[in-house]
Amino acid sequence: MASYNKLTPELARQLEGIVGASRFQYGEAVKEEYGHDEMPIYGKYLPEAVCLAESTEEVSAIMRLCSEHCVPVTVRGAGTGLVGGCVPVHGGIVLSTARMNKILSYDMKNLVVHTQPGVLLCDLAADALAHGLMYPPDPGEKTATVGGNVSTNAGGMRAVKYGVTRDYVLAMTVVLPSGEVLKLGKTVCKTSSGYSLLHLMIGSEGTLGIITELTLKLIPKPIRDVSLILPFEDIATAIASVPSIKLANLDPQSIEFMERDIVDSSAAFTGNPVFPTVVNGRAAGAYILVTLVGDSEEELTLKMDRLGEVAAEAGAFDTLVVWTDNLKKDVWAARSAFLTVIEAETKLLDEMDVVVPVDKIADFLVYTHEEADKQGVYVRSFGHAGDGNLHIYCCSNELEEDEFKRRVKLLMDACYAKCAAFEGQVSGEHSIGHAKKEYLRQSVGDTAYGIMGAIKQVFDPQGILNPGKVCHDL
C-alpha cells in the first residue's frame, strides 16, 4: 500500500517557483475542470495543485520534487478522456501538458514531424495537410492532444487502412517519475534492437513516464477521396456487409457504422439532416459510411463501382456518393458530433469501447441491447465497423445516479463477459483509466495483469505517477 504525502505550502511554493505563478493553481484556486474528464460518472477528484508545464525541463523539475516528497502526479492533456485516466483519484498534483502545444519542426525528407504533446489533434492534422502530408490517425475527438492520443494508443476512423497511433510514433522524450529524462526510439521506421520501451510507453496512460516530445510519422496526403453512404434496413444487415466490403480489394480508409437514432439526434443537434432517412422509398435503420482514396477519379470510379455491387448484394438500399467538399464536411461533421449529441441529450452516461471480431459486431450489439433492456437503461452505439471497435453508450434520463450505476455495472459485467467469449478486447482506444481496471484484469488474466503491475513497479517504484490506473492497485 503506497503512502503518499500531501502537498505542503512549502512544496506548493517550490512548484510555483518552477512554472511561475501564472501557470500554477493551488488549493481553492484549482479549477473544477481538473477534477474530471468527459465521463464524470466515474467521480470528481480535485487535485491539490495544478502545474501547467511548458518544457521538458519544467516537467523534470516537477517530477524530481514530487518524487523526493512522494506526492502523486497525474498528467493531463485536453481532458477529453472517457475512463478517468487524467483524473487524480489519489490527490496530489495535476501536471497539464496543454501549454506544450507547439509543432516544433517538419523533416520533409524523412516525412516526420517533431511536436510537443499538448498540440491538439485537429491542429496537427490541419498543419500536416498544409505541408502536403497527412497524419493518418483520426480519432473522433479532434480536440484531444496528441500526447493523450499516444498515451491511449487512440485509433479512430482511419485505423482500418492506416493502423493506430502506435504505428506513427517513431520516437519520444519521456520524463520518468524520478525526473530523469529519457529519449526513446529514433527517426527510423525499423528496429530490432531490444525491448521496445517506446511501445511500452505508448498506451500506458501516463503511468510509466510523462511524454514531453514526440516524433511522428507522416504520409503523403491522398490525392483524391470520396465517402459513400450505404443505407440499410437495420444494423444487423449493415454490419453483415462489412466483410464483403473488406474482401472487395478496395482498401477503404474507413468503414463506420451508425444506427438511425443517433443519426437523427445528430441531425437535430447540428441542424443539418445530411443523412437521408428515406432512400428509394424505404426507411433506413442503419448506415455504413465508407471512405475510399485513390490517385485519380478513374481509379475511384472503379472502386465505387465495386463497392456499389457489393453493397447492393448485401442489401443496401442504394450507394450515395459524397463527392463535393461541402457534403464531405457536412457528413463527417455529423459523424464527429455523435458523442457530443449523446452527452447533450443524456443526464447519466457511461460507456464501453470494446473491440470484437468484425463478424461478431452485430451479435454483440444485439446482446447489448437485450441486456440493456433487462436493466432498464438504453444504449446508443456507433463505431468503427472496419475494425470491430464499438462505442456503446449506456444512458438514462430517469434513474437516480446510484441506481443507474448499479444497473450499468450489471449490464457491463454481462457485456464484457460476452466480449471475452468473443475473444474481444476491453478497450479499442479509450483505454482503462481507473474505470475499467477490473474488466482488464478479467480479460488478460491474473498473470498478465501481475506482469503489468511489475512493469509499473520498475518504472515507478513509489507509484507516484497516475496512481490507481490501468494495473496499479493500491
Partner: protein
Amino acid sequence: MLNILVCVKQVPDVNLVKIDPETGSLIRAGVPAILNPHDENALEAAVQMKERYGGSVTCITMGPDQAAEALRECLAAGADRAVLLSDRAFANADTLATSYVIATAAKLLGSFDLIFCGKESLDGATGQMASQLAERFDASQLSCVLEILSLDEKSRTLTAKRELENGMETACAAWPCLMTVEKTNYRARIPNLKSWKASRKAELLSFNSRSIPGLDPEQIGDPGSPTKVPRTYPPVVGERGQMLDEGSVDRTVDKLLGLLADVL
C-alpha cells in the same frame, strides 16, 4: 410538363479564403471552388417540382471552363441538362452584365415556367441576380420561399409559403415565376452512384459570346458593368463581448448595471 431553369454559380469556398492585409483583396490561390450553397437549395427545389409535376430541369451558369464542375454537381443532383456560358469577353461582369448574358442565352433554350436562383452568392453576396433575372424574363418573383405548396397548370399559377422578417405569408404568383428558396425544405440531396456517374460523362451545352445571337457587346463583361469597386477591405471586427456570470441572476444583473453605469 414543367420547363424549369436553375441559375447557378461556382464560388470560392469563402471559409478557406484569406484576405491580403495589405491590398484588402481576396487570396483565391489554392482555394477550392464549390457550387454556391444557396444554389444547391434552388436546384433541390427545382428537382422536387420536376419529381412532383413532371418536366425537365436545366441548369445554367456563366463562368470559366472550371465552372463545368459545378454543373456536373447539378446533373448528379437531378438536373437534366447543363449549360455553360464561358468567354473571356464575359470576364469582370457585375450582376447587371451577368443577368443580361444569362437571360439572353436562356431564351435560346426555350421558354421556362419556373426559374430558381440562390438567394445570394457566397462570394459577392449582392443578392441582386434574382430580381434582375425576374425583370429580364418578365417573370413574377417570390423570394425567401419556404415551401412551394401547389402548382396549377391550367391557370399557370403557383402558391408558396414565404418567410418574412416578422412572420410568414402564403403568396400566389403567375408563371413564369422566379423563386429564391430557403434551405429548410430544400436541402441538397446526396446523389446516388448511378446519377453521379452519369453526371461525370454527360455532355454540357456550351455557349460563348459569338454563339449567342443578338448579344450586345456593350452590355457584357467590363463594358456592360456599371459597378465600380474602388477598394475592398476586411470588415472591422468589434471588441468581443464580455460574458457575465456572477453565480446568480441578481448578482449578474448588479454586475451588468455597474458596468453600464461606468459607461453611461
